[in-house]
């Protein structure tokens, strides 16, 4: 349990390592949902809120932001299914972050590097499975 809570110290402000967020956060949320009575949910929301506030200032027209934005989208897409649906507002906060960020990023999809595109495609496939995106609209990415 102690090790599982170590994550709370892991992401400071600003949250710099978005790859780590993507790799670790889905598992952390799964643990909180299934084994920790969701006690860490508020902190998880706070981390994503911080990242969203950072992401709003990342201009996807700039090449150097795209890697972080693609990790962030994938982190959201992988984390959303792990949030207990009965804590609906938490889930929908992440959904809003995902949709808003994707809307800003997609116009630059064609200019992105292959691995960034792959992360975004994977995030879209996940979001369509979760029905937070309309799959018909994203056939080009799926």
């Amino acid at each position: 349990m102690a090790n599982q809570s170590e994550w709370k110290k892991e992401w400071g402000e600003p949250v710099r390592d978005l790859r780590s967020l993507c790799v670790r956060m889905p598992g952390i949320v799964r643990f909180e949902t299934t084994r920790n009575q969701k006690e860490g949910y508020q902190e998880i929301q706070a981390v994503f809120r911080k990242v969203y506030e950072q992401a709003v200032w990342m201009d996807p027209a700039l090449e150097e932001t795209r890697e972080d934005l693609s990790w962030y989208l994938l982190a959201l897409s992988r984390t959303i299914p792990e949030v207990d649906e009965e804590v609906f507002d938490h889930r929908m906060n992440l959904v809003r972050q995902y949709r808003n960020t994707l809307k800003r990023v997609l116009p630059y999809y064609g200019e992105m590097r292959g691995e960034e595109q792959e992360r975004i495609r994977e995030s879209i496939r996940g979001a369509c499975r979760e029905k937070i995106l309309i799959a018909d609209k994203y056939t080009a990415y799926c």
Partner: protein, 526 residues
């Protein structure tokens, strides 16, 4: 004797006596066309077997003198669709869902779907606008308990623009996938369901109420017995509903609904079988309803944080009268899912018997700034054997992931922000509560958002001879108690106008954090 006709169809009517007491009165006779037709002692009573487009003289009275009649005329009726003619067997064996659904979908305006005596096995039935659905005496809609007999209503469907959404189902304040209810209305108008028949939910500990069966199983949460989503002008009258899978009646974002002379019966030990859960409704009338249940009799709601803050639709303009509420957790509860608040609720001339609490408000930090409780009036209420008649719990710890967190339980003032709920005004007039057990009143506001005004006027409370120690509220740091008097915390203005509490342990009044107290008579001056 004075009476009003409060409900009239081509086939039946309901009267309500005026100034004749609460729920029951001395026996009286009802005369139809001068013939004594019924003797009753109920203040709300229904008559059946009327004919369409027909004039009747109606009178009620006692003794030898013929009472003055009132002339009424029943509405026209175009056609009757008997479900038997659509292939329903009503034998309690074969499934009749399709036959009854066909009759409903074929029913024209001013038509009637008749379900005659018999036992009809059904899954989910969907209403349509302008429907008159009659469950005749001896008719039983007997619901299956197999999940595969019920379609799933998706909770939230994303719109093409990915900004709007289509909300079809709800579970405990969130838009979550649920099985369609035994009777489901989606966006229908001008519907009447009436009669002397029964809807048998067949809920038991072998199916819907069993441990895992209570949770999301088979892809959806439990059905209700009647679920009305975004409906207008719907009346349900006369019928008995028993053994509901979960909440019995769930009007949701529905306006101008009436619930008249119903009998709602679920076992005392059945889980989440509230009688009625009006959620984000405007205009709701509950008259002459008998509740005997395992959870709250009426629990008024307006969604958890997402639904409350997104749609901002409070439950408002609610009148509850001449109802008899037995054995539930709360007689009339507000919350706990009240993200958009509750306003203008008037509960009067009712009996609360053997419930855990009379008025029960359940809220907490985190419900949000739209969660405003305002203009709640209880008047002319008789309570007997209620554990704690008046409860306001601003620290409700149940049913949320952070319910036990320091943020929810903290009794010190926290900053007022987007998440802070508010209780503005509560009024209790002409109330007698006999044989209480735990506390006379337990009203605990938030220190940073004090209750605006609480008024007790002509309120009399006494305790049972051998009271049972119970929790007055489900919150941190509260222990079971008995014979506790009036405990109130965090209120700007408290009015105690002719309040009597007998049998409570000292101190009878345990008041703290109250800015202004008005006592009538002023005991200090006496």
């Amino acid at each position: 004797m004075k009476f009003k006709v409060i409900f009239l169809t081509a086939r039946c009517l309901t009267i309500e006596l005026e100034d004749e007491g609460i729920v029951k009165t001395q026996a009286y006779s009802i005369y139809v066309n001068g013939v004594k037709t019924r003797v009753s002692d109920r203040t709300v009573e229904s008559l059946y077997d009327l004919l369409p487009d027909t004039e009747y003289s109606l009178a009620v009275g006692r003794g030898a003198n013929a009472p003055e009649p009132v002339i009424i005329r029943t509405p026209k009726e175009f056609v009757t669709l008997n479900v038997r003619d659509f292939g329903a067997a009503g034998d309690g064996v074969r499934e009749d869902t399709a036959a009854i659904q066909a009759a409903i979908l074929c029913c024209p305006k001013e038509g009637r779907v008749l379900i005659p005596a018999g036992v009809y096995r059904i899954g989910a039935l969907f209403l349509k606008s302008d429907l008159r659905l009659e469950l005749a005496a001896g008719a039983v809609l007997s619901a299956y308990t197999d999940r595969e007999k019920f379609p799933i209503l998706p909770g939230l469907i994303t719109a093409w623009d990915e900004e709007q959404e289509y909300n079809l189902a709800s579970w405990e304040g969130n838009p979550l996938d649920s099985f369609a209810s035994i009777i489901t209305g989606i966006g229908v108008k001008n519907v009447v369901i009436y009669g002397q028949g029964t809807i048998e939910g067949n809920g038991s500990y072998e199916n819907w109420w069993e441990g895992e069966g209570r949770e999301k199983t088979g892809g959806a949460f439990r059905p209700r017995t009647i679920f009305l989503n975004r409906c207008e002008n719907v009346t349900v009258q006369g019928i008995r509903i028993q053994n509901s899978p979960a909440w019995t009646l769930h009007p949701y974002f529905s306006n101008r609904t009436r619930w008249i002379d119903l009998d709602l019966v679920n076992p005392k030990i059945s889980p989440n079988t509230d009688g009625m859960d009006p959620e984000s409704v405007n205009g709701l009338e509950v008259v002459g309803v008998h509740f005997s249940l395992g959870d709250d009799c009426i629990a008024v709601k307006s969604g958890k944080y997402y639904m409350g803050s997104t749609y901002k639709v409070p439950s408002q303009n609610i009148e509850i009268r001449q109802c008899h509420m037995q054995f539930g957790h709360g007689s009339v509860t507000l919350g706990s899912e009240i993200g958009a608040g509750v306003r203008h609720l008037w509960c009067h001339d009712c009996i609360f018997e053997g419930t855990d609490r009379g008025l029960r408000i359940k809220t907490r930090r985190g419900r949000g700034k739209d969660s405003i409780i305002e203009d709640i009036v209880f008047e002319n209420i008789l309570m007997d054997g209620v554990l704690t008649p008046f409860v306001l719990n601003s620290y409700y710890w149940c049913c949320d992931p952070d319910g036990h967190s320091e943020y929810v339980r903290c009794k010190d003032p926290l900053p007022v922000d987007e998440r802070t709920p508010e209780v503005r005004s509560l009024c209790f007039k002409n109330i007698t509560a006999h044989n209480c057990h735990a506390a006379a009143a337990f009203l605990y506001g938030l220190p940073e958002s004090k209750v605006g005004e609480i008024e007790f006027s002509n309120v009399s409370i006494d305790f049972a001879k051998h009271p049972t120690a119970e929790y007055p509220a489900m919150m941190a740091d509260v222990e079971p108690c008995t014979r506790k008097g009036v405990m109130i915390r965090n209120c700007r203005k408290l009015i105690l106008d002719h309040v009597q509490v007998e049998g409570a342990e000292e101190p009878v009044y345990d008041l703290d954090g109250i800015d202004e107290i008005i006592r009538i008579p002023d005991e200090e001056k006496d």
